[in-house]
Structure formats: structure tokens, C-alpha cells
Symmetry: C2
């Protein structure tokens, strides 16, 4: 792990939008240290050996197989990467946590979900919020896979509105235990979990409270049937009923009424890990698609040679590459911030909590972007396979079905989109990120006369980095005016928030790819990064188009007259290329590389 | 049915691009005559009674149920709408054929596929190409559902490249029969079909030949297992093996080597009917989504009240409305042309064949647009249902899975996209549609000085219709230059063709919606069409954005220097709104209507 944390200017969460990041300051997958590389390889090898050969069983709702694989993963230490060594974990950093989550999730959504539910929302609330006794009692078992965890937040009437649950916790007269009653729904790992993190309301508290509840059928805990689901067929998902389940008072997590905070913080980590969990799926889908397209001949031509297929392959690989770039960039920011906080005296759990919370905006951004990318990637995968893509005998349709859940859980993508902008605005209000200054500067720039100097774009990414700067101005212009116009009522203008969040997302993703590639070009030579440069340019081009569209949609919905004209002019200026990239050529280059290598090779 | 065919200026296929259509000349669903309305209502009622209550069985691969429903449909005459009365059909026109296909397909893709495969590609080759004897022998049985048909074109090595099949037909020494051997794949209805339309090659013929083959296990016909498929779970799909299957020479369809033509023409009809088959699915998905969103409360609010949900509902309803508008517009063009041809002496089958072929471009456009719209619509449907959308207990996930096939069969969407542009260019070369003149005019306009007159947009859709005219110029500009630049090599520039075809598609769809709404506003009053106007404007806005993006992508891939600058200027001019619609408001209006009516109400 890098020890240079302190010297670096670590971006605060959301600050990417107003600060220019130097490529030297971003972490990239090419920066994995030896330990991380070994971890990656051993997880990959595990997946290839233990999961891939059983793909079919996973589609046939073989819940026992999921449990078995999870046990094996536990034996190999994969479940405990994030857990401190004192609780029998590996105590590795956040990047390594992401890494394991990434590579263990590539083969089937069933394992991705079981792994995520167990290590993320199932274990983490205890490592982060537990008392020393709670940690000692539960975490070692969870870290090694002796026990499994599940997370019981959702109820039939409380999904996105997680704090509205009806499950009750009533203190016993002797004040020794709480009696929990209620119905939880959609609980991943319910079928084999030994411990449940359960959220319930005490009396008429405003906020719910978290409890650690051991599974015990003698204690009023029962289960619904396995849900019949579109995808992740071997992930156990059941309702969990608590009927006067007795939970010792010492099993309360954090304090009374702290449950909502726990739930939300667990989700922050859950979100960025979910992003990671979409990455290897993209790599594998892309790789399968390339191989098939190289083999399948129609019109006496391997279909990989058709422009229509090259276009798809290039876009698929690009989104995987960009997703990686952004996910590991944020992961390292989190890791660095955790270090910083620990150095300045925070406990491990406090540091981790605050470290992740700091980047909650990025976590939401990544969750949305990567979950949508894997959906699109697997959709194109099906299409490349033609009729065979519709068959359960090829890997594409399961990838497509499994991908669908990622846009729903850990906060729907709508909720995450709105949160990302909402949190940013709040940070600005609190002065944690200075949006006002830059927004005012953009306002002034809009009034001024644009410079007609021909900039010097001879250096790699010179124009692209200029474009990123301008795209940030687009966000500031649109969101800035919206805040001015609607004030706190902005919350109710959801279509606008959604549009703004798409701008935010695209900026972060595009910038991350460019910085990664720039860093690698600097150290490994530009010629080694030909296709990576192409992917970064292609992604940026698409991002500019999307940002232009979303910004325009926003602007024309709230501006009129002179303001409208000025903002549209600004938008034009801020999305203008001096030299358009030839995206058809870029895609062809990227695809040709994939085709030549016959695999995902970036 | 309207008898005014002759007086009307019927557009030729593809001509929509260069001719302005008056709203009086388009047929709309509001023009259904009494007979058609009765037909629609009885099909709807059939679906609600016979299919909807058994939705679950359809998901559980109950192939027998599909057969049973098909038989019932036969008894009610639904299978014979398109079949002339002399062969025990209803002999209704093309619009009615579309109508039945539309409304019978809304509940499950399994029936949509079984119906489409039987009536379309399974029966039609005989009605269109059969000899009198062949028709007499087979068509009445097929029209009434006594027998079922299937269509055996695809082979393991011959999908998109349909003419490359290896199945052989060898003439017997006594010249009395052909002996057919080969392997057909992905054959819908194979499990219960009595008659197969089989394509096979005689000797080393360049083109394949079609045969009518009766199912008979004594005659070397055997089947693979049911394919395990992503969707349409109760549609029977098997491999069909022919092993020296003897087929009397009189069962050859049309002449030797005519099979490829038959196959392609059958696909033309298949495509527009497939578009229709996506419409009621969209209506039903939208309706289910509205109802759920009205019921589901989160944050003490029915989720229908959230802007994020309104946005989705509005876009869903809009694509259904637009899909309808375009599908029935084209259907009536086809019907009119069939009439015209019959009046000028063509036989019924010849007239129908040529009538549909004339609009092959529109058929491809509709197939692509509607199949992608239902995918998107059901995807949003899942999202509106949240976690419940991922459950097999709600109708969304099956709709989403079933939709996926429509982008693959009847020619993949890539093939159809490229065909649409390819056919148009060919028509232009042959002089059937004058693209050259208008393209030159656009070229001259680009060189000229744009008018700065403020146009009068006071009439309904004045600006929108102006925009449609301009969007057509975008196509002519981009495709025109591409043809000039690449000549016959254009075929190899698939990314460019795909971009051009997206422009073509959006123009046709947007224009169709506007014309429909304009016609209805004229006769029923503008105030009755408030939301329809909003949907037409919303669709157009989205279309302009998409066209702008696709055109730009094309232009920057092949133009340079002055030409590039000129074309980009032209693009800007041709996609410029004088008055931007407030799309956020439009969506809200549309959604509010749906929410108030608690159903799909357009
Ligand atoms: C397979 C699966 C596994 C799961 N695993 C777990 C688990 O282990 N533990 C657990 O606790 N939960 C789990 N969940 C539940 C999951 O977190 C919820 O489904 C999710 O939070 C959405 O809640 P909901 O389903 O109630 O949808 P709803 O909240 O009802 O949302 C429906 C729609 O309304 C939208 N919406 C809701 N509120 C708003 C708003 N304010 N503004 C705009 N739009 C809004 C949503 O975006 C969505 O489009 C799981 C779900 C599934 C399907
Ligand atoms: C459920 C189901 C039901 C079916 N029912 C029938 C039926 O009843 N009868 C029947 O005969 N067939 C049927 N089919 C077959 C169907 O028509 C084919 O699957 C379809 O035509 C695509 O062919 P393919 O699967 O061989 O894909 P391929 O042709 O191998 O295509 C693979 C990919 O390559 C692309 N591609 C191919 N050629 C080109 C090119 N020249 N340029 C650019 N891209 C290209 C395609 O667009 C696709 O993305 C059915 C298929 C399914 C899945």
C-alpha cells in the first residue's frame, strides 16, 4: 500500500467537480501492489475453478451451492478482506476490499449478491458500529464464513423510504431484552444466514434502531418461501418474520434511534462495492462476446469483422474500462482518507465510517453508472450472440437478468441519482465544497466575451482535459441556476435533479478514465496506451453528447428569455470541440485490438 | 373500409422522406371502422379472458396451453383475418390483420410468437406464393387452426445469412418427389406444427427453394428438445431435423430457386406485424405501471406523484402512442396499395406481395422502433415496481424478458437498420424515390444564406412540421454525402449506415405521431388532444436530440475541413428550435393524465 498518503492533496468528496485533479494523484488498477495483484489473481482463479464450471446449477436455483461457495470463499479469507486482523480478518485496505468484491462477482449475480449482502451490509454494521463485545462475538465468525450475515431493512411498506418500517422493538419489563415483531422483505441470504442485522422502531421514535439478531427458530423467527426472481437465481431471498423475537439489550447496534444512520452508512459502502461488483461481469461479458464474434461466421465473414459488431464491442470494453477507472480512483480516495483519519486519532471504525461517508456522492455516482453499464453491456452481449443470446445455453442471458437487480437494490438508481446531487448541494451549503465561488465565476464567464485564441492542443489529452473543465461548468451553470431559482424547493423538481445528476455522473466517469490513461501514458509510454486513449476519448465524446442533452433539457425547463439564450449559448460554448474525435475510427481501433487479442485486454 | 383509395395520393415506400404528407392522408387508430373496432374489442376480450388469467402457466413452459389458446383463436377466426374468404379466412384488409396481431400479442410473448409464426411466416408463404392446389389443400386448415404452421429457414450456420443454409433437396429419379435432408434451428411452433415451410437448396443453386412439408414422423422428421430460453417460455422452439424427408414435387413453393425471395417477402410482412405485436404489450405495461404507481406509497406519497416516476410514465405512454401512429399509418398505406394493384389487375396474392414489398423500408423501421420501445417500456416498468419488478409475481419481468426476442428475430435490429437505408438507396438508384433532387437542394441550401425571417408558428404543430422538414434534410445531407463519398462501398461503413438509419427511423416515427394528432385535433378539437399534442411534441424533441447526435457522429467520421464545417452548420440549422418545448412540463402533463385516468388512455 502506498505510504505517501499525507503528502497528497486528497480530494474531498464531491470536490472533483470544482478542482482539477492531476493524473499523478489518481490511483489506477495499474497501481495495484504485489499483494493486491496476488489477491486479484487468487480470486479470479477461485471463480474460474469453483463458479464457472457450475454456472448452470446457479441458474437452477441451487441455493446450497451458493452457501457452499461462500464457505469456500470464507476458508480462503475472501470474506474477511475488510475485517481487521484482530477479528480474524485480513485487515486489508479499501482498495483490496473493492478488488475482491470486483473479481468474485464476475461470474454470477447470485454470488455477487450473497457476497455483497454478507460482507457489506451483513457484516459491516457490526465492524463499524459494534461494541467491542459485539465485534468479538460475531465478527470473527462472519469474517471466516463460519457464520453468514443478512441485513433486514426493507419491509413490504418500507423500501426506498427505509425509515418508515413498522417492525417494532419493545423493551421487556426487566429491561434485559427487546422483543422484535415485524415483517422484513427481500432479505438476501435469509435462507442460510446465522445473524441478522435487523432494523426496528422503539416506541414512536423518529428513527429506527439496529439490532444484531441471531437466527433461532425457537425465538419467533420464520421465513417466507424463496422469492421467484427474474435473476440471481441462486441468491436466497426470503421474507423474514419476527414474532416477539427476544434480543438481549446488549445486541443493540450503536444507540437507540441510530439505525437509520447505520442503514444509510452501510448503504454508502454497499453502493461503491456494488459498482465494483459490476466490473468483472462487464469484462467477462465483453470477453465472451469477442470470442463468439471471432468464431461466428455469417456471410462468409466472422461477425467480429462487421462494423455493427465492432461498434458494440468497443462500447462494451470502454464502459468496463471507465467503470474500473472511476471505481478504483474513488476506492483509493476512501482508503487514503481512512488513513488520514486514523493518523489523526480516529478509531479504525470511526475512520472507515467517515472515510466512506465523505465520498457518498461518488458512491452513488458509481452505483448508478456501473449498474447501468453492465446492463447495457450484457444487452449488447445478447445481441452479438443473435438467437443464441436468447438461449440459456450461452452466458449472456443470465448476465442480463442478473444485471437487472443492481439498478434496484442498495437504493434504486433514481434515489441514488437524486441523492448524488442533493448531497452535493448540501455539502456546498455547509461549505465543505465551494460550489458557489466557481458557479459565480461561470456566471461571469457567461457574460463575458469568449476567447478566440487557438489553444495549443499538442499534448496528450490537452483538448479532452479542457473539455472536462468546461463540462464541470455546465453542471455549475445548470445546477447553480436551479438552486437559485428553486431554493429548497429544488428537491421537488425531480426531473431536473435527475438531469443534473446525469451530468455529474458523466463528468466523474469521463475524467477518471482520462486521468488513468494519462497517468499510464506518462509512465508506460503513449504507444502502450493507444486503445486506452481511444476509449477515454470515445467515452468523453459520448459524455459530452449526453451532458449536452441533459443540460439542455434542464435549461429549457426553467429558463426563459435572455437567461435561456445566455445559458444555451454557454452550453454550446462549454460542450464545443475544437477538433472532433472521429468516433467511428476510435471504435474500430478499440474493437480491432479486442478482436486481435480475442479477450478483454485492457 | 375506406373506398376513397383512388383519390388519395398514396405515398410510395420510402417517399415519406422527401414528400410532405397531409394529415388528411394518414390513417390513424381513430379511423378504425365499426368492423375493426368490433374485431379489436373481441380480441381484447379474448386475451383478458383466456390468456391473462393463465399468465403464470405461460411462464412455466406450458406449451400445451399455447396450443390450446391457438386453437381457440382459430375457432374465433383470429388466425384467418388475412386469409381470403375462399380459403375459409375472414378476408379482411391489412389494417385488420395488424389490429388482431396487435391486440392478441399484448399479454404474453409466447402467444405473440406462436401467433406470428403461424399466421405470418407459417401461413402466408402459401397464401402468397402457393398454387391454387396448394392453397386449397393447406390454407383453410391453417386459417381455422385445424392445423398449425411453422417456418424453417434458420440453420445452425445460417441465421442472418439466411440464403446460406446447407439443407439439401434432391430430386428423386422418378422426378416425383424431393428428398430433403438438413438441420433447422430455432423453429417456433415446431412442437405442434402440422405443416412446415422448409427452405432447402437444390443441387448447387445460388438461391434456396421453398417447400411445403407435412409433419410426419414416419417421413424422416424429428425434433430437438425444447430450447431453454430467456423469454417467451411457452412458445415452442425446437430444432427440426429432416432426414431424407420425401416431399412431392407439387409441394414446391413458387419456382426452383425462388425460396430466398419468398423468405425475404415473408419477413417484410413479419416485420410490420412484429411491430404491431409490440404495441399492446406497451399499453398493458404502461397501464400496469400507472396502476401500481398510483397505489404504491413511499414517503407518505403515491410514487406516481414523484417527478422521477412521471417522467417514466410519460415516456412509456408516448412511445406506445407513437408506435401505434406509425404502425397503422404504414398498414393503411399497404392496404391501399394492395387495393390499387388489385384494381389494376393484379391477383390478390400478387397485389399483397407487391403492396407489402413497396413498404419494406417502413416495415424495417417499425420493427426496429417498436421492438426497442417495448424493451425500454418494460424496463421502466420494472423500475417503477422497484423490488417487486424483479419478482415473477408481477407482470413486469416477463414482459421484459419476452420483449428481448423481438430485437433478434425477423432479422436482427442491426440487419433491419442497415436494410432500411440500403433499400432506400436502392430505390433512389432505381428512380423509385427521388432522393437525388432533394439532396441537391439541401446541398444548395447549405451554401446559401439562411433566412432570418421569424416564421409564423401560430397554428398547431407549425413549428413541429417545419422541424420534420428540416430533419428530413438532415438525413439527405448525411446520407447524400455518404453515398457521394463512398459509392457502393457505403455498405461496408456499417456504423455510418446504422447512424443514418436511426435518423430515418426517428423521422418516420415523429412525423407519424404529429400527423395523427393533427388529424384528430382538426376533427375532434384541439382541446380533446391536449396530451396527444404533448406526446407528439415530446417525441419530436427526443427525436431531434437523437438525430442531432447520430448525424454529428456520422459527419465527423467522414467529413473534413470546409465540408465538415458546412455540414455541422447545416446540422445546427436543421435541428434548431425557434421555441423549445418545455419537455419537463410536457412529461408532467402526460403523466398527470395517465395518473388521473389510472390506465393507458390514449
Ligand atoms: C433481489 C433483491 C434483494 C434484496 N436484498 C435486500 C436485503 O438483503 N436487505 C434489505 O433490507 N433489502 C433488500 N432488498 C430490497 C431493496 O433494497 C428494495 O427493493 C429497494 O430499496 C427499493 O425499494 P422498493 O422495492 O420498496 O421500491 P419502492 O421504494 O416502492 O420504489 C418503487 C419506485 O418508486 C421510486 N421511488 C421511491 N421513492 C421515490 C422518491 N422519493 N422519489 C422518486 N422516486 C421514488 C423508486 O425509484 C422506484 O422506481 C432486496 C430487493 C431485491 C429485489
Ligand atoms: C426464440 C426464437 C425463435 C425463432 N423462430 C424462428 C422460426 O420460427 N423460423 C426460423 O427460420 N428462424 C427462427 N429464429 C431464428 C432467428 O430468425 C435468427 O436467430 C435471427 O435471424 C438471427 O440469426 P442468428 O441467430 O444466426 O444470428 P447471427 O446471424 O449469427 O447474428 C449474430 C450477430 O451478428 C450480427 N450480424 C449478422 N450478420 C451481420 C452483417 N452482415 N452485418 C452486421 N451484423 C451482422 C447480427 O445482427 C447479430 O448481432 C428464431 C430465433 C429465436 C431465438
Amino acid at each position: 500500500m502506498s505510504d505517501t498518503t499525507e503528502q497528497k492533496d486528497i480530494l474531498r468528496g464531491g470536490q472533483f467537480l470544482v478542482k482539477e485533479t492531476s493524473c499523478d494523484d489518481v490511483f489506477t488498477p495499474e497501481d495495484f501492489n504485489e499483494e493486491q495483484k496476488m489477491m486479484r489473481d487468487s480470486v479470479k482463479e477461485f471463480v474460474d475453478r469453483e463458479i464457472i464450471p457450475h454456472k448452470e446449477r446457479f441458474e437452477k436455483k441451487d441455493y446450497a451451492l451458493t452457501e457452499e461457495i461462500m464457505q469456500k470463499a470464507g476458508e480462503l479469507g475472501f470474506l474477511g478482506v475488510a475485517v481487521p486482523e484482530e477479528y480474524d480478518g485480513l485487515g486489508m485496505g479499501f482498495v483490496s476490499t473493492m478488488l475482491v468484491c470486483d473479481y468474485i462477482s464476475g461470474a454470477t449475480g447470485s454470488i455477487a449478491t450473497a457476497f455483497g449482502a454478507h460482507t457489506g451490509i451483513g457484516t459491516m454494521p457490526i465492524t463499524l458500529y459494534g461494541t467491542e463485545e459485539q465485534k468479538k462475538k460475531y465478527v470473527p465468525k462472519l469474517a471466516t464464513g463460519e457464520w453468514f450475515g443478512a441485513y433486514c431493512l426493507t419491509e413490504p411498506g418500507a423500501g426506498s423510504d427505509a425509515n418508515s418500517g413498522k417492525t417494532k422493538a419493545v423493551l421487556s419489563d426487566d429491561e434485559k431484552y427487546y422483543s422484535i415483531s415485524g415483517q422484513k422483505m427481500w432479505i438476501s441470504n435469509a435462507g442460510f444466514a446465522n445473524v441478522f442485522i435487523v432494523f426496528a422502531r422503539i416506541e414512536d421514535d423518529k428513527n429506527i434502531t439496529g439490532f444484531i439478531v441471531e437466527n433461532d427458530k425457537e425465538n419467533g423467527i420464520s421465513f417466507g418461501e424463496e422469492e421467484k426472481k427474474l435473476g440471481i437465481h441462486s441468491s436466497s431471498t426470503r421474507q423474514v418474520f419476527f414474532n416477539e423475537t427476544k434480543v438481549p439489550v446488549e445486541n443493540m447496534l450503536a444507540g437507540r434511534g441510530e439505525g437509520f444512520k447505520i442503514a444509510m452508512n452501510a448503504l454508502n459502502v454497499g453502493r461503491i462495492k456494488l459498482a465494483a461488483a459490476c466490473l468483472d461481469a462487464q469484462r467477462r461479458v465483453t470477453e465472451n462476446a469477442v470470442k463468439y464474434a471471432n468464431e461466428r461466421v455469417q456471410f462468409k465473414t466472422p461477425i467480429a469483422q462487421f462494423g455493427a459488431i465492432k461498434q458494440k464491442l468497443a462500447e462494451m470494453a470502454t464502459s468496463a474500462y471507465v467503470g474500473e477507472s472511476a471505481s478504483y480512483r474513488a476506492a483509493k480516495n476512501i482508503e487514503d482518507r481512512i488513513h488520514l483519519r486514523m493518523e489523526s486519532g480516529n478509531s479504525h471504525s470511526e475512520a472507515e465510517l467517515k472515510g466512506v461517508e465523505e465520498y457518498a456522492i461518488e458512491c452513488s455516482i458509481l452505483k448508478v453508472a456501473c449498474s447501468e453499464d453492465i446492463q447495457h453491456c450484457s444487452d449488447e452481449g445478447i445481441q452479438i450472440f443473435g438467437g443464441m443470446g436468447f438461449s440459456a445455453d450461452t452466458p449472456m442471458e443470465a448476465a442480463w437478468r442478473d444485471a437487472r437487480i443492481s439498478r434496484i437494490y442498495e437504493g434504486t438508481n433514481e434515489i441514488n441519482r437524486m441523492l448524488s446531487v442533493g448531497m452535493l448541494v448540501k455539502k456546498a451549503m455547509k461549505g465543505h465544497v465551494d460550489l458557489l465561488g466557481p458557479a459565480q465565476a461561470v456566471g461571469e464567464e457567461l457574460m463575458g466575451i469568449p476567447s478566440f485564441d487557438k489553444p495549443d492542443y499538442s499534448e496528450l489529452f490537452a483538448e479532452e482535459k479542457e473539455m472536462i473543465k468546461k463540462l464541470k461548468k455546465v453542471f455549475l451553470m445548470v445546477a447553480g441556476s436551479a438552486v437559485q431559482k428553486f431554493g429548497p424547493q429544488l428537491e421537488e423538481h425531480q426531473q431536473l435533479l435527475l438531469a443534473a445528476s446525469d451530468i455529474l455522473i458523466e463528468v466523474y466517469m469521463a475524467e477518471s478514465a482520462i486521468l488513468r490513461t494519462e497517468k499510464n501514458a506518462k509512465r508506460f509510454g503513449e504507444d502502450t496506451q493507444k486503445e486506452q486513449i481511444a476509449m477515454s476519448q470515445l467515452y468523453l465524446y459520448n459524455a459530452v453528447e449526453k451532458i449536452n442533452a441533459k443540460a439542455k433539457e434542464g435549461i429549457i425547463s426553467f429558463a426563459e428569455g435572455d437567461e435561456l439564450r445566455m445559458m444555451l449559448m454557454g452550453l454550446k460554448r462549454f460542450t464545443k470541440y475544437d477538433n472532433f474525435p472521429n468516433v467511428v475510427k476510435l471504435r474500430t481501433e478499440i474493437a480491432d485490438k479486442l478482436i486481435a487479442e480475442n479477450k478483454y485486454c485492457f
